[in-house]
Structure formats: structure tokens, C-alpha cells
Symmetry: C2
Subunit: 469 residues, 2 copies
């Protein structure tokens, strides 16, 4: 690790931002509006040769004309205009310039590759760092800098480096589903200057980042990347979503960010050698991150599951088997304890346990969670709740939030890692209820998923990560 951490870190905490290429009604103006609405506390300067005003602010013809210092510039201009603007940024002493501009090294023919190299030379002479081109810039909630609407202002433990601008936005949107927050998301596009390895090194050193997630299409310097990713994996969990693992996707990656994707075999062996966690979708990245950031480390794979529904229970047991979790049979002492207050007919007293009609009584549910959760025979407790039932939903019965609260209260008296599933996604109403109940769980430190399969995949990968450490 050779990075000057403090200097690099300061790039993401600008005191002032120039939005270059802004005109009323354009995408760049919306990006500027996002900064204003997001509560960015420093100065925001619109820049455009056309002058005039945008969102009530004076538009400067050049970055050089801005009367005060500028730390960060975001460029949304055609490729042909970038050279002069990068010169201006370097001359002005801008620290970081992110370029949305396409046509600089991506595409089928890699058009603009030479110009891209020129921009890097100019930047290096002026001690200016570049993000992109073909990127969204960065999202740093602590600095109130964001690149898309509805970005949470809360910071969280997950640091993301993402080669795709669209996927960077998807990380923010998907986090809504997982109720997870970020230290930073850095969209780095064609990686002319700052690349995947720099960012991986940065997030490894960054104390606010507890878990690193990377979407990578190609790697610039394989040898350095290998060293840095190995060090990163020793420091914290690293989840990698590798785009471009087949011929068609590699061609798409080449066209998308000018990346050389590298063979699947090399990547598979890299994952094994360094102990990185391989994910296959953005959803999965954040599912795993949620388990790693919230769930205590289980001592092993022996688990118990409590929940509602006979068929659901049978299928959940099969899913556990496939995910490599062990479900030891419930001992008689625990069964007897449960039978004191759980109706026998219609319940299942194996493991998983099916509570059946107990859901109408949150207090009894809490008691059952405590009884099973403190059974020394298990390393992990899983709870599952279905919002939709035969007649009214749990929301309509005013039971969803009391049950969630009962779970949370009981879990505090359980000395083991706990994860929850709230099945919901069949109507917009139940999905809304899921998101609210999930937030309650997450705030209480319990990871909460929308399906048994997503939950099991996430905890299996989290446990595998612990097993190889």
C-alpha cells in the first residue's frame, strides 16, 4: 500500500464544486439540482460558454473565471470540448475532475483513446486527478455529494467502486430494498487516471468502509491489482461483481468502458487465491454486505428456523439443506417448553419450527424466539414471517409491526446471530410494509431479507468468508 490516504480521501470532501456544461433543462442542470437539494454546504458554480443563469446562479464562461477556489469539477460536455476544460481545471488548481463525457476510449473502435491519454497528461502536469471519462462522479453522503435523486443522507459501512455509471445508480436504488447505507460510491468509468486498483487501495485504508463492493469490467494492471486485492481481502470483506465473463459480455464491456475483461478462468482462480467473495448481481452484492455488516459471526453452520406455515417450513428446510446449513432436530426439552404455550394441532415441532396460529399473539411469538434462540445446540437463529395470508394481510390485521417489534425485543435476549425473512413481494402494498418492517429490523441490527433463498445465499456466502479466514 503506497497511497497518500489523506490526500486521496480529501478528493471526496470538496468545499466547492464547478458543474461544467450546465444549461437550464439539461441533464447537467438536474445533476446540479441534486447537489443543491442534497444539502451540499459549499459553493456550487455552474460553468458554460453561453453564460446567463441556471437555477438562479450566475453561469461562468470558464472554470478560470470563478472568483474562488474550486475543489471538484463535474464535466458534462462533448468529448471535443474536454481538452480545453481540463487545461482550465488544471490551471485553476482543481483537485478532482469527474467526466460524464462519452466518446473517450470506449465504443467498438475505442474512438477518442488518444484524446483520453492527452487529458491524463495535462491532468498529471497540473496535479489534477481525473475520474472517468464515462462516469457519474462520486456519492459521498458525509460530504453531501450525490449523483442521483433520492440518495440517502445517512452514511453506512459499505464502500463501492463501480465501473458502470448505470450500475452505480443501481447500487443506490438497490440499497433502498436492503435498507443499507454507503461510506462512498465511486463511479470510475473508463478509468483513464483513477482506476479500480487505486480505489480498492483507498477503501482498504478508509476506516469508514467496513465492507468493499466492486463492480469491475476490466483491470488496467493485473499484477498491481492482484497485490492490492489480496491486501484488501486481508483487511476487510471484499465482494466483487465481475462483468464480462463470457465472449458476448466481454465484447459489451469493451464497448461500454473500453475494458479488456480477462478470462473467466483467471478471475475464478483470483477469487479463490485472495479470498474475495464472488457475487453475480447487484442485489446479491448488497444482500451479502447486509449479512456481513449486521450479523454477528456464527460459530458454525448449525441453525434453527422459526416461522409460520407448514409448506413454507418444509420448503425452507430444503433450501437450508442446499445452502449447506445444518438443522439439528429440536430436543425434547425445547419442544416441551414450546408446547406449554403453542397449540400442538397444526404446528410443527421439528426444526424448522412452524408456529402456525401463534402469529396472533406477538408476546407468545417473542417467548418462542427466546426459547429456541437460547438452545445451545445452534449457532444461528433464522426467523420467517409471511405478510400475505389466506384472508387479510398482516398489515390489514395490524399485526406486522407488533410482530416485528416482538421479534426485535426477543432477539435482544438471544446470544446468537439472528437473521430475518419477511416474505412480501406479491403486491405493492405488502412490499411497502416489508420495506418499513425491514427498516425496523436493520435499525435494531438484524439483517432482513425478502425471501428465504436470498437470505440463505447471503448468510452462506458470509459464513464461507469467515470459514476461510
Amino acid at each position: 500500500m503506497f497511497m497518500d490516504y489523506d490526500k486521496f480521501d480529501s478528493l471526496f470532501y470538496p468545499n466547492s464544486i464547478a458543474m461544467v456544461g450546465v444549461k437550464e433543462g439539461t441533464n447537467a442542470a438536474i445533476m446540479m439540482r441534486i447537489l443543491i437539494d442534497g444539502g451540499f454546504k459549499g459553493k456550487i458554480y455552474p460553468v458554460n460558454l453561453s453564460g446567463g443563469e441556471v437555477l438562479g446562479r450566475k453561469v461562468y464562461a470558464s472554470v478560470r473565471d470563478i472568483p474562488e477556489a474550486v475543489d471538484y469539477a463535474f464535466l458534462q460536455v462533448p468529448a471535443r470540448s474536454t481538452k480545453q476544460i481540463i487545461k482550465d481545471c488544471a490551471a485553476k488548481g482543481v483537485k478532482l475532475t469527474a467526466m460524464f463525457s462519452g466518446g473517450l476510449g470506449e465504443g467498438e473502435e475505442g474512438e477518442g483513446n488518444e484524446l483520453k491519454q492527452e487529458l491524463v497528461s495535462i491532468a498529471q502536469q497540473g496535479r489534477l486527478r481525473l475520474l472517468g471519462p464515462n462516469c457519474m462522479g462520486f456519492y459521498c453522503p458525509a460530504a453531501r455529494v450525490a449523483f442521483c435523486t433520492k440518495s440517502p443522507k445517512e452514511t453506512g459501512p459499505v464502500g463501492v467502486l463501480c465501473q458502470s455509471g448505470g450500475n452505480s445508480v443501481q447500487f443506490v436504488r438497490t440499497a433502498t430494498h436492503n435498507s443499507i447505507n454507503f461510506s462512498k460510491i465511486v463511479s470510475y468509468g473508463n478509468a483513464a487516471d483513477i482506476n479500480e486498483t487505486d480505489l480498492l487501495e483507498y477503501f482498504t485504508l478508509d476506516p469508514a468502509t467496513k465492507i468493499i463492493v466492486a463492480y469491475i469490467e476490466g483491470v488496467k494492471d493485473g499484477r498491481r491489482f492482484f497485490q492490492v486485492v489480496r491486501a484488501a481481502c486481508q483487511a476487510k470483506p471484499v465482494i466483487i461483481l465481475k462483468g464480462g465473463q463470457c465472449e458476448a459480455s466481454a465484447a459489451a464491456a469493451q464497448s461500454h468502458t473500453g475494458s479488456l475483461a480477462g478470462s473467466r478462468q483467471i478471475w475464478d482462480s483470483l477469487f479463490k487465491q485472495v479470498g474475495a467473495i464472488q457475487a453475480y448481481s447487484i442485489d446479491e452484492c448488497l444482500d451479502i454486505a447486509s449479512a456481513l455488516s449486521l450479523m454477528k459471526r456464527p460459530a458454525g453452520r448449525k441453525a434453527a428456523m422459526l416461522g409460520f406455515g407448514g409448506g413454507t417450513t418444509v420448503l425452507a428446510a430444503d433450501d437450508c439443506y442446499r445452502a449447506g446449513l445444518l438443522l439439528p432436530p429440536l430436543p425434547d426439552t425445547i419442544k416441551d417448553e414450546l408446547k406449554k404455550f403453542v397449540q400442538v394441532t397444526g404446528s410443527i415441532f421439528t426444526n424448522p419450527v412452524d408456529f402456525n396460529m401463534l402469529y396472533v399473539s406477538p408476546e407468545k411469538v417473542a417467548r418462542a424466539v427466546e426459547v429456541v434462540g437460547n438452545w445451545p445446540g445452534i449457532d444461528l437463529l433464522m426467523l420467517q414471517l409471511k405478510i400475505e395470508s389466506t384472508h387479510e394481510t398482516l398489515i390489514e390485521q395490524n399485526l406486522l409491526y407488533p410482530l416485528t417489534e416482538a421479534f426485535i425485543k426477543a432477539v435482544k435476549k438471544v446470544d446468537k446471530p439472528v437473521v430475518m425473512v419477511i416474505h412480501a413481494i406479491h403486491s405493492a402494498e405488502t412490499y411497502k410494509g416489508f420495506l418499513k418492517a425491514q427498516k425496523m429490523c436493520i435499525n435494531a441490527g438484524i439483517p432482513c431479507y425478502s425471501s428465504i433463498q436470498r437470505m440463505l445465499n447471503a448468510i452462506d456466502k458470509a459464513i464461507k468468508f469467515y470459514e476461510i479466514r
Copy 2:
């Protein structure tokens, strides 16, 4: 096949129903309300020793007291009361009695097993058929009989036999997500009389059922089941979700429906021998059913994908690779055709194709669908659309439904099987939009999924089914 189809079929089209065990405020009363609200056209007779009125109807003390003929009786009474009532039903000439009652052969000790056998003997003497015990009865939209709230009145091509009552309800709820409809769903619980094999035989013969879906925990007569499932698979697609494939789930199945689950090895070999489609969740069953019922049979595995987003496109190509779909490179003729009206910078002209900014123009999108869809180099066309973007959602931009319409219009001019993905599930609002747009697609005969992975899994399994035929 030895079944008297017409006689068995008539069980699901009753002219009159007795709801036995009904009292105001009970679950049985809600089940009765579901029949009334669902528009059941025949007579509904509440029965309970307590007499009085329920939902404005006279309560009879016994089924025998009902002045007219009764075709179907639904029992929600304690196990100890069933014997007399089954006698009454047999004496009255009831054709089918479904029993919700538990405590008849399931549970850890199989309590009530003897009584269950007695009920079967009584029924057989009286030519009464039994469903359950421990079941929900049946859902037959054409007869306006349902067992849960919000059951669609439309009939559809999917016939379901389901050993779990809760899972039977989940099939109805999940169908909301898939916008799919059913010929019938039969919940058969502990299978004292009518069992999985009878129902499989029935659905094989039923002309309204084009695709059979089965949730099975255990099989009563393995030899007969094997013969019937083999014949079923020769007649139509059979998707089986087998519960109880490991020790823990087999114990749960025993406790849930008194089933002997059978070993995983036997089932795995059965799936191969008969050509049944193995599914692992209710969602997956209906995803596959949707592909099989709506998508034309693709001539092979060569596919093209069109959609929006560079990173999404790269990842989708990787997913296609893992699902065994081939993505041949786009020929120059098609590329040149597209470049006439699609902006080059920011687009990807490989396969998958990334349209990028074209989404603002539904007419151009339709044109691109036609150009790529009629390329003779492919067997299958996949389209993908993201509701959430960087700034406003497609719903907020009033583009989601026009784009969906443009897709549908263009697809009519494409001579190949087409499937769609609309990515949505990150907020309740976008999910609502997804459900509406999906319904538009389904109504136009295009299967439509909420993620690339779900779509690919469904079409891979559908294509595998065609390949082995």
C-alpha cells in the same frame, strides 16, 4: 389412465355448497364470505349445531337438514366431530367433502390416523369423495369457488395440485406477481382419499389445463404415481416442486401432512426418467409456467437481447452465458440499420444491444425491436427495461406505458418468441408500475419478468423441456 374423467371433473363444479362448522366471526365464516363475494351462483348453506344465522343465512344443525341437494361440503370442525358429519354427508348424497380439520394423521405421532381411515371407509360406502383432511379445498374460477380472498375470477392454463394449504394460498398470491391464471388449484393435504396421483391423472385429462404444477410432500403409491406422472409428462408440461428432500424437511413433511417424503435420489432419477421439470420454489413454478404458456417454442438457443444500460447489458450477457443461451455477434447489416436512428456514443452495438438514450423515443425503440427481432440469426428475442433511472423513474417521466406499448406493437411484427424483463423491485411505486406494465405484456401474449435472472431461469427450463421432447 383409468379415471372416469367426467365424474371426477364434476366434483369441482358444485351447484350447492354446505359450509360446516360456520359461526359468525370464525375463519369458516370468512371462507363462506369468500364464496359469496366471489360470486358463487349456487346455494350456500351454513351448518352448525348451534343454529341461528350467519351472514344473513339460516344455519342448519346438520347437512341432513338441508332441504335441497348438496354437491360440495367444506368442513371446518374439530377432528372428533368429523365422523358424524362425514356420515351425514354420505347419507345426504354429497359428492365431495373437503376437510380443513387437522389432527387426522399428521403431527409427530400421526394422531388421528385410525379415525382418518374410518372416514375413508364411510365415504367409500356412500360414494362420497374426500379432499384432505388438513386442506383448503379447491379453487375453480370457472365455478366461482375459491378458498382465499382476492382470488382472480379469470381462468387460465395452469392446473395446480398442492399438498400444503398455505402453499395453495401462496400459488394464488404469487400469480399476482406473474399475472398468471389457473384452471384449478386443488389443495389435498393428508390425502386420505383423493391423492396426488388422482389429481395428476385428472389434470392430464383436463382440456382446460395446459400446464400442470404440483407441490408434493409424499406419494401414497409409488408405482402408480410413476406410471401416471410419465403419462402426464407425455401429454403436457409437468412442473414439480418436491418438498421434503432432506432429513429436516422430511421430518417437517411427516409432521405437516403425515407424508413419507422418499429419498432425494429416487426423486432426482424420477425427474430425469419421466421428463418432469423440477422447480425449487413457488415463484419458480409460476415463472416457468408463464414461459411455457405464453412463449412460442424457440427453434434453438441463439438469442438477442435489447435494452438499456451499459452495466446492465454486460451483466445480462454474463447471466445468459450461465443460463446456456448463445448470443451471436450482431452482424454489420443489423448494426448499420440501427445506426441510422440510434445515437452511437453511449450505445453498445454488440449483442446484447444497449439502446442508451433511445428510451425517450418509443417509436425508435419499436423500430429497433423490429430490426433486431427479424434478424434470421436468432431463435429468441429478449427485451429489458429499467423503471428506475438516475433522475426520474419511467413512471414519473410518463414513459413506462408508452414504451411497453411500443414494445408490444413492435413484437407483433417479429416472427420469433419474445420475452420481456422490466426491472423494478426497489420501491413500492416502481413495483406497482411493473405489475401494470407486466399485465399489458401478458395480455399481449408476452411473458414478462421482474429480473433478468428469473427470466433466464424460466426460459432455460422451458427450452430444456422442449429439447427432451
